[in-house]
Each structure stands twice: as structure tokens, then as C-alpha cells.
Amino acid sequence: MNSTFSAFTLLAQYDRWRRLGDGLRGSGSRSDLSDLLPFFIVLGLVCAGIAVAVQIYKRRDFSKPCDDPQKLLRQLCAVHHLNYSSQRLLVRMATALELPHPAVLFVTPSAFSASELPAQLSKEAEQIRQLGKQLF
């Protein structure tokens, strides 16, 4: 740990570190790639962070042309201020009602009436009713 820290310090003061070997025979031209490993690890982490940020940005960016049903669902949930649990519930409803796409629920008010609910959603009936009220 201490040696890693020293290596960083030395990396930061590269000119001095290079001069440490001055006067010692053969030591000036020898370099070990393993010494750069920490540098590459950090670089990898930064790239991964950027990639994640880009993905998150893309997920939330609804201005680009696409044909993505999941994204449409997220877009609709976003404009109606629905939380993740409501979104999950809509997906479950769509599956139970055998709808081709959960977003169809946004234009199907009858799907939210208690009488139309399939048995497996009876526990969430109240939550579904509230959701229907919010969407229509």
C-alpha cells in the first residue's frame, strides 16, 4: 500500500524519479510494465464510469429517434410522474392482460377497472385503481 503510494508520488514527480537512477549502471534504461498497472486500472474505471453515464443519459434522452417499447414506457411514466414500483406494476398488468406492450395501458382505461383485473393482480387492486385515477 505504502509502496503504491510511493509509486504514485514518483509518477507525479517523474523527472526526479528518472534522475534517481542517474549514475547507476544499467538501471536508467530498464522499465517494468507492471509499474503502470495502477494507472491502467484507474483509466479503466474512468472509462467505465463514462460509459455508465452515457448509458444513463441515453436511457433518459427521449429526443433521439428509435423504436423502443421499453423506452416509451419510461417516457410515459416520466411525464405522469410514476415511480419505479408503478412502472413495474404496469409491466405486470400488461403481462397478465396479455397486452402486446405495457404502454397500451396508457390508452386503455378499462384495464384499470376492478372487474377487468385478472386474479393474480387482485392483491394490487387498490394500487391499480389509484394508478388508473392518475392516468385518466
Binding site: F62, D67, H80, F106, V107
Partner: protein
Amino acid sequence: MTAPLQTTFEVLSTSRNDAAVPVLISALQSEENAIYQSALKALVARRNRAGHFALVSRWHELSEEHRELVREGRGKMSAALRDGILSDDGQTFNNSCELVEEFGEFDLISTLITLAENKTHKHSSHATILVTRLANRLSEMVHGHRDKRDRRNPSIIRRRILESLEQSVQRFRTHNRSELIEAFVVLGGSSSGLLRAIIEDPRHACYLTVIHALSTSDGSAVVELLLGFLKSDHVSQASLTIISKRSDKAFVEQLLQFVGNDPPRKLKRNLARIRSFAWLQAVDWNIEQLDEADQERCAVLLSASGLEQDQLLETLERLLKQGQPLGRVAACQALTTLKGDGPGRLVREALADPDPGVQAAATRQLREHRVTDSLGLLLKLVDSPHKLVRDAACESLDEFSLENYLKQFDELKEDTRQSNGKLVAKIDQDFVGKLSAELESPSRKNRLRAIEVAEATGMVKPMSEALIDRLADKDHLVRAAAADVLQLCPTAEVQQALRQATLDRSPAVQNAARIALAAFAGLKLPIDATGALES
């Protein structure tokens, strides 16, 4: 519609995510009108082929209110309509055809042509009909009958469509669809080189079809093409034959307007090559039904044509007897070109026409057609109550001029001088002017003769001013003759002038003036009267 639902449809309308389209299509199954209507609007607004296709395939189910919403998509739904036309489903095909026609989607004509050419396809006949209708409509648009809201340039569209139709003409032997050739004719008009080439080539596979289309189509392009033939320098007899065989009233009216009242020489030359007109024997209408101006043009056109004399005479007689005034006048004028007894008989009959214009036209032709006792008739017509007729009679009696009268004057007996002179004074429209000029002639003999003429023709009164001027003539014989003749015009002005003349240096003039004044005294004229005194 509630605010949340409105928000949902705003997203579904504007989202760039095409996954919204199947959602909207499923909303078309909703029984709630607000949702159904919003889904329709959103699908129209989204430029998505599948979404538009869903609308096209449901068109027949839509109410008028909903159709109005779909009509907003005019001009944006071409791709979906093309899919609909190529669809195997009969209802979708019919819906697409209806919309293509309603929206005027001319770009789809090439697709329709392909379908029409394939006679084995179940929608081939319907596609053919639609091509014909669209071609007619485009032709009307090119020739001015266009919807102001439609900003498309019909000439550019026409050029593009014409290319497709010309290719179809080349494939005529394969598909044998005469309707497509007719559509080509309707749209081609005078600018199509291929159409002109076909008309000139009787061996062309499409020749008969093209001729049939030209003989029956009332499309503006066809009419324009046919009328254009009449203006060209080298028009084939086949083209003129087509014109002569057209008998529909709409075409004839356009032909008459094109020819006008005074056709140019080139047009007359081409018209002279037409020896018959089918419309003269039309069963559903006759020339008496043309409006007045067209009847006039009809007479002009027929007289310029190469129509047989008997047929021309018969038609002009029909116009003269049953036409309207302008038509009758033109028919009467057209008789000039004819020879024989027939025209003379018609001219004689036209003198009894109630319209002065017709009488005048007939009057001008009395001598030309050697009508019996034309001179006697003309002399009677000089006294017609209608100025037009009087003028026409005077024109025809041009030998009754002052010049001719003066030439013969010295040889005529007194009574002939008077009778002929009165006729000349009546017929020669510028008698007074010309005689006044003669009174100022440098020749004394001429001046003296002019004074005698004024007396013989009874024109002293209208000539009084010029005669008073002669009281100051340099020649005492002229002055004396003027004083003598002025006694026939007892006006205060003349009386005053004669009083002056009594002081003339010539005793002969003084004497003549006194005699004239004495004659006035016998009439007991007021000495200082200033107004005109009637005898």
C-alpha cells in the same frame, strides 16, 4: 378529455419513438370517442407509414367527422397509400383508391399503371379507371381549373406522369389497355411529340385508340391539341378529319370561340380544308341552341370552311330564319361568298327581317346577288326609318354621287335635273360639303353651276351660308346668281346679306338683291328679325 390523457397523447404524437405507433393503433379499438379521435389525430400527425396504413385500411369505417381528421394528412400519406394500392385486401385497395383520388396523389399513377397493365391482377380494372380519372383531373389542373389551396405545380407533375404513360404506350401491344392510351392522350396535349407522331402514323399500334380518344374526349388538353392543329402550318388531313367529326356541343363552342369573328389567314386556310362538320347533323343539339355570339362565329366559321355550297346555304338559311340577331346578321353577310339564285332569294327575304342590322346586311348584297329590281328596292330603302338601312342603301347606290351629277348636269333637262338632283342630294352623304367646295372652285363656270345645282336640288336653305359667302365673290355674275337664288331662303340672315348686296358696285347684283328682297317683302318679313324665318 382529461389532462393526464391529453398528456399521454401529446407524448404519443410527438415522441420520436416509433413504438408509439402500435400503441396508437391499438387505441383505435377504444370505444371512447375522445381516445379514438385523439389516436386518429396522433396517427395522422406522425409521419409513419404503418400508422398511416392503419388509417387507410380503416377509412371505410370512419364517420365523416373522423374522415375530416384523416384528410389533414393529405400529402403526407403517399407511402401508405402505395402500400394500400398494392395490398391484396380488396377493402384496403378500395380505400386507398378513394383516398388517392380525393387527395390527388398523382405520384401514384405510375404504380397504378403497373397494376392496370397486369390484366390478371384482381385490381387491374379498378386501377385503370383510377388512372383515367387522375389523368383527367390533372389535365384540368394544368389548364387552369385548380384548387387554390393546392400549391403543387401541375405542369411539373404532368411531365413526370406523362413519362410513365408514354412508356405504357410503348408497351401497348403487351397490355392492350386502351384506357391508358386515352389517359395519355388527355394528358399529352399539344406538347407530346409521341402523340403527334402517332396521329401522323396510321400504322402505329395505338393509332385507332388515339383517334378514338381525340374524337370523344372533352379534356382540356385534347381540345387544346385539336384547336392547336388549326393554327399550325402543316396539319395532316387526319387531324382535320378528327375536328370535323367532333359533334359535342362543348367542343363546338370552344372551336367557335377559337375561330372568333375574324379568323387569321392561316386558320382560314386550314378551315378551308374541312369539307364537313358532324355537328351540323348532331341529333342531341342544333346550331339554333348556340348563344348569339356563337351563332355569329358559326356563320364566320362555316363561310371560311370548305363546306359544300348547298350545305352551307342550307345552314345559313337555318340561321337566318331561326337564329338570333347577331347570328342572322353574320349569316346574311356570309351569303356574299355564295353564288346562284339561292343566296339572292335569301337576301330578298332578309329585307323583311325585324332586325335593322339584318336588313342592312341584306341591303348591301341586293346588287351583288342581282336581285330583281334591286335599284327600285334600294331607292325605297333610302327612305327606311332605320339609319343602318339608309346608310347601307346609300353605300349601294354609290353612282348617285354629286360628281356624277355635275358631269351630266349641263346635258339634263330641267325636270330631270330636279328629280335626279333630289335623289343625289338624298343619297350622297356628303352632298352639302362637296357642293360647298364646288362653290369655292376657282372656275367661274363651276361656281355658277354649283349655284344652279343648289337651286335644282332644293338645297338652297342648307347651303345658305356658302351662298351668302358668294355675295362677296369677285365675279359680279356669281354674286348676282347667288343673290337671285337666295330669295328661296327667306331667313333674317339672308335678308340682312341681301340688303348689303343692294349696295354692291354692280348694278346687276343690286338689281338681283332688290328683286329677292321684294320677294321677301311679299312674305311680309319683319325687317329686324334675327331668328330663322320659315317660309
